[in-house]
Amino acid sequence: MSTNAAALLHEIAALLDSLARTGEGGSVQLNGLPLLPGDYEVLQEELGEGELSAELEALGRTQLRETALHGVWWVTHRNSVHEIVAESIEVTRCPAILQTPAEDVTESARLLRERLQATSKTGDRNG
């Protein structure tokens, strides 16, 4: 195994320790690292495929895949023409971007109320 891939795997192991002990993980930004040819493939092979994957459609597709190592997520952000804009390995129990932003929850409640009110008004008129 090349030294760069091995170093990253050691860093991931340390982040996993930290996540288990303190609840705080971390992430490794792949597109900012000087990877040797083959490093990327070695990492993919070593981490493997897990049981959960999610896709987010926002400014292009983002793929979040848990690897065979629980708590280690491979996150690939793409733009709308499928080019990778950022790629990282996140050590966390759940990537933050999967959670619904609080403002969106407030807005959903407001939107649904508005829709219900509109329906009840229409209903009154028809009834």
Binding site: S27, G32, L36, A58, L59, N79, A86, I97, P101
Partner: protein, 362 residues
């Protein structure tokens, strides 16, 4: 609620969701080499950041810097940031021309006095009263001095604006100088490169928007987050340098094996830029990955620093020795190599070496 002219509001008006905005901020954090824990902070700051007025002046230049920034037709991060600023004057990009264009510049300078960002690409000729480059009958020198007065900060984009670049190269017939040679009373950020990497240009703008302040700069006025490390130190071929494995010609076994291009004149060790990690053409590659050494385009006097194809110093023995010293002395050894290489470069500049056919065949 953020006001409707804030960056967050503008992006949301363009249909960017909150998760999309977070994704954008995450990519920005990665770009600025900030830890992921900073993402919420960046998101909160960018959400409220007012849309800044930008005046862009192009002087003695080839428009390569503007091309670099705008050739990314895809909805990339740089396009988003670019959309989020109010570009009030840019004589290549704006629709207005002639008097209307100059009126737009005058209006922006008046309305946003003390607040606008001034972006400059190209050097400024001083010889013969600056007659060698004029816009609307005004010399570049006069226009720069006038626009600098009300600028909050100046971003010198490209090696020409930052260090004089190619117009400044020997024999410098127009007396070309850098922005920092003229303006002494404003903060100046140098973003050199011929051209600079597009995301580095926008990364500086993003940093300014996020923190409302200039990023930390190195001794040459370059933001450390992008110019903090040499191409050599971040190069994926660095392990071959350390093992003493060098390509001797562009078609030998070493070249085919992807070994270090130091002996073929690579200027990676004395060049500070983000090419090795950020890369070019949507992250496809960078010159060394394509098999050619770094030209050192983001450094002062790169055009006069000796042949592009002559090694910075004779590697095998001295590098072995230098590497041993570096191992013993830690970072100081690396600095010693850099100082030595800078000395070689300065010597080459004095001698004003040009590229010959022999250099290419070496």
């Amino acid at each position: 609620m953020a006001d409707e002219n804030s960056l967050g509001a503008i992006l949301r008006a363009q249909g960017v969701s909150r998760r999309g905005f977070l994704k954008f901020c995450g990519a920005m954090a990665a770009l600025m080499a900030l830890p992921p824990s900073m993402v919420p902070v960046i998101a909160a700051a960018l959400d409220k950041a007012p849309r800044p007025s930008v005046i862009w002046l192009s002087f003695q230049e080839c428009t390569g810097c503007t091309e670099s920034l705008t050739r990314s037709h895809t909805p990339t991060l740089e396009a988003l940031i670019f959309d989020a600023i109010s570009l009030d004057y840019h004589h290549t990009l704006q629709a207005a021309s002639g008097e209307a264009a100059e009126a737009a510049r005058a209006k922006a300078m008046k309305d946003f006095f003390g607040k606008y960002l001034l972006v400059v690409d190209g050097s400024i000729p001083l010889k013969d009263g600056g007659v060698y480059s004029t816009i609307a009958g005004m010399s570049n020198l006069d226009m720069l001095q006038e626009a600098a007065k009300g600028a909050a900060a100046i971003v010198a984009v490209g090696t020409c604006a930052a260090f004089g670049g190619i117009p400044h190269a020997n024999p410098n017939p127009t007396g070309a100088v850098a922005v920092s040679d003229i303006i002494k009373d404003k903060p100046i950020i140098n973003v050199p490169g011929c051209p600079p990497i597009p995301v580095v240009i926008t990364g500086v703008l993003a940093h300014y928007l996020t923190f409302g302040a200039l990023p930390e700069l190195d001794g040459l006025g370059r933001p450390k987050m992008f110019y903090g490390e040499s191409i050599h130190d971040r190069c994926y071929r660095r392990p071959f340098y350390d093992q003493g494995k060098f390509a001797k010609t562009f078609d030998d076994e070493g070249a085919r094996n992807g070994w270090c291009l130091f002996e073929l004149g690579c200027k990676g060790p004395t060049t500070f830029n983000a090419c090795a990690t950020t890369k070019w053409n949507q992250g496809t590659s960078f010159p060394i990955e394509s098999g050619h050494g770094c030209l050192g385009c983001s450094e002062p006097n790169f055009w006069d620093a000796g042949s592009f194809y002559k090694a910075l110093s004779v590697p095998i023995t001295p590098v072995g020795k230098a590497a041993a010293i570096a191992a013993a002395a830690g970072i100081a050894g690396g600095a010693a190599i850099a100082i030595h290489n800078r000395h070689v470069k300065a010597a080459a500049k004095t001698g004003h070496q040009t590229v010959t056919a022999n250099d290419l065949e070496k």
